[in-house]
């Protein structure tokens, strides 16, 4: 079995007297997409900043591809590409110039630089804007430029902080697709405060609250539709149970009758359960596949947390 790309052990970070990250430990394996999920202020970005070498941990340690982030910072940083949350870029540079600059400081040689830049330009569909000033680009293109620079030098690990923030729905779908494609080549650590985003792209989700790691939850194949949430009008629990009993592979796992919401576990997606419920005469108002039960887990773990 290959060695983990990230090994974080008891990472702790204080900002003055405020504890931002509290003894967080986790591992990320090669070609794995790990999602850090948590509400705003839960410590996600701080963990990324520690792992990327921007912040020093108060205590604890982490290794990136075997290199200690403090003792071997230069080597560790050489293994990763990072896209910070607000997509900071040198806006006075042109796209070409910026990618050249980032490629050079990532150690690409004069000989390999044009091909490497050409590769990321093509991959992120930046050809049309490569001679434009970054200041003139839309949010979506800036995000692509930021991801492009992170991929220069073929890193082992890609770190993305809230990569879909501020993007329109089409751009969000493109970023998701890109993450899925890239996970065949490298490991990805991605944060989001949007549960569905993590659920759609990650293999595992680490749930954070107030700087503590509450749980690391396997998501299996992202988006496999193993859980189905349905909302039925005027349905009572006994009747719903009775109609689902006859459907193979479908189990009722959670009930919120006051909201008319029923959560099922299904081995075959939503269709057999919906069909059975409709045949039984229920008015099915809404059906969604939540994939992995992450939402229920997240709500359960963070229940009672101050908002």
């Amino acid at each position: 079995m290959s060695a983990p790309v990230i090994v974080a052990q008891n990472l702790t970070k204080y900002y003055g007297t405020r504890l931002a990250v509290d003894r967080v430990s986790f591992e990320v394996m090669p070609n794995e997409v790990m999602g850090l999920l948590g509400p705003n202020g839960s410590g996600k970005s701080t963990i990324l900043r520690i792992l990327t070498g921007y912040l020093r941990p108060t205590s604890g340690s982490a290794r990136i591809a075997g290199f200690d982030i403090v003792g071997q910072g230069l080597e560790a940083r050489g293994q990763l590409g990072y896209v910070p949350e607000d997509v900071p870029l040198y806006t006075h540079m042109r796209v070409n110039e910026f990618l050249d600059f980032m490629g050079r400081i990532r150690g690409l040689s004069n000989a390999s630089l044009p091909a490497a830049v050409g590769d990321v330009v093509e991959r992120l569909s930046l050809g049309r804007v490569r001679t434009l000033l970054i200041a003139k680009l839309s949010r979506g293109y800036r995000q692509r430029v930021a991801i492009a620079q992170a991929l220069l030098g073929k890193p082992t690990l890609l770190v993305l902080d809230e990569p879909t923030n501020g993007l329109d729905p089409r751009q969000i779908i493109e970023v998701r697709e890109l993450i899925r494609t890239l996970s065949r080549e490298l490991s990805i650590l991605v944060t989001s405060h949007i549960l569905a985003e993590i659920e759609r792209v990650a293999h595992r989700a680490a749930i954070l609250l107030d700087g503590r790691l509450l749980s690391v939850h396997p998501l299996g194949t992202a988006g496999d539709g193993s859980r189905v949430r349905g909302r039925l009008r005027g349905a009572d629990e006994a009747a719903v149970r009775a109609s689902l009993q006859v459907v193979p592979g479908v189990r009722l796992v959670e009930l919120l009758p006051s909201q008319g919401t029923y959560i099922l576990e299904s081995d075959a997606g939503a269709a057999p359960a919906v069909s059975a419920l409709v045949q039984a005469g229920f008015a099915v108002e809404e059906v969604s596949s939540s994939g992995t039960g992450l939402e229920e887990l997240f709500l359960g773990l963070t229940e009672g947390a101050p908002r």
């Binding site: 900043r49 990327t52 070498g53 921007y54 912040l55 020093r56 230069l74 080597e75 940083r77 050489g78 990763l80 990072y82 910070p84 607000d86 900071p88 870029l89 040198y90 806006t91 006075h92 600059f101 980032m102 050079r104 400081i105 990532r106 150690g107 620079q149």
Partner: protein
């Protein structure tokens, strides 16, 4: 070394890309040219001593304007995060910014060399004090630039960086006047820290290794502290 040269190129382009460099150079040369011409016609002395002192006084105001953005702007824009998470050494980032700023300041100082050329063509100046004056100005500028760089590394607000740099520089320039009111031991220490007391011998044609050492060591100390400020994240 290659990544350092890349960083240096980026800093030089960033400084010369912004209008600030051109404006400060133009204002500096206008004021110095005005002063040089006036003094030459009134006094008719083939000397640049007054130019050296006036240049030093103007540098106290101009250098903080050049250095205020170095780290403060990158910190505010978030690009410092991009830079420091790339496989580059913090010392390279600091040195690149220092050398790029020195390039602007030295360009400005070097352009006043035309005054020396005018004196050489139309008079017979003593060249020793002119050489030592320029060496002194370069060393003095180096201390100011590294001080401004260090203060810029401590804040994300450019205006704060500029004002604090001006305040600290002026305090160090004039601290010898305070020294006369102090007990002997403290007086010696304060005079040894005075930028004016250290610069005066250079401007008047005398060079001492102690003054040379002061400017070099204060530059190195401020650069080291700038690196520490970056590392204290």
């Amino acid at each position: 070394m290659r990544s350092f040269l890349t960083l240096l190129g980026k800093e030089v382009r960033a400084l010369f890309h912004s209008p600030i460099a051109y404006i400060v150079i133009a204002v500096f040369l206008f004021l110095m040219g005005y002063s040089f011409t006036l003094t030459l016609f009134v006094n008719k002395y083939a000397t640049l001593v007054h130019i050296f002192f006036q240049s030093a006084g103007l540098l106290l105001l101009i250098v903080p304007i050049i250095t205020m953005r170095l780290f403060a702007e990158e910190r505010k824009a978030g690009t410092l995060e991009l830079l420091l998470t790339a496989p580059v050494r913090e010392s390279h980032v600091v040195l690149a910014k220092y050398l790029a700023s020195m390039a602007v300041v030295l360009t400005m100082i070097a352009l006043t060399g035309t005054y020396a050329a005018v004196l050489g063509i139309f008079g017979s100046p003593e060249w020793g004090p002119i050489y030592s004056g320029y060496i002194g100005l370069a060393l003095f500028a180096s201390t100011l630039v590294s001080l401004g760089l260090m203060i810029s590394a401590l804040t994300s607000n450019q205006v704060v960086a500029a004002i604090v740099t001006i305040g600290v520089s002026f305090m160090m320039w004039t601290i010898d006047t305070l020294a006369t009111m102090m007990p002997d031991a403290l007086e010696r220490i304060l005079i040894s820290l005075s930028l004016l007391a250290r610069f005066t011998p250079f401007a008047t044609g005398a060079m001492y290794t102690s003054d040379f050492g002061f400017f070099v060591s204060s530059t190195l100390l401020a650069l080291f502290l700038a690196m520490r400020a970056l590392a204290r994240r």
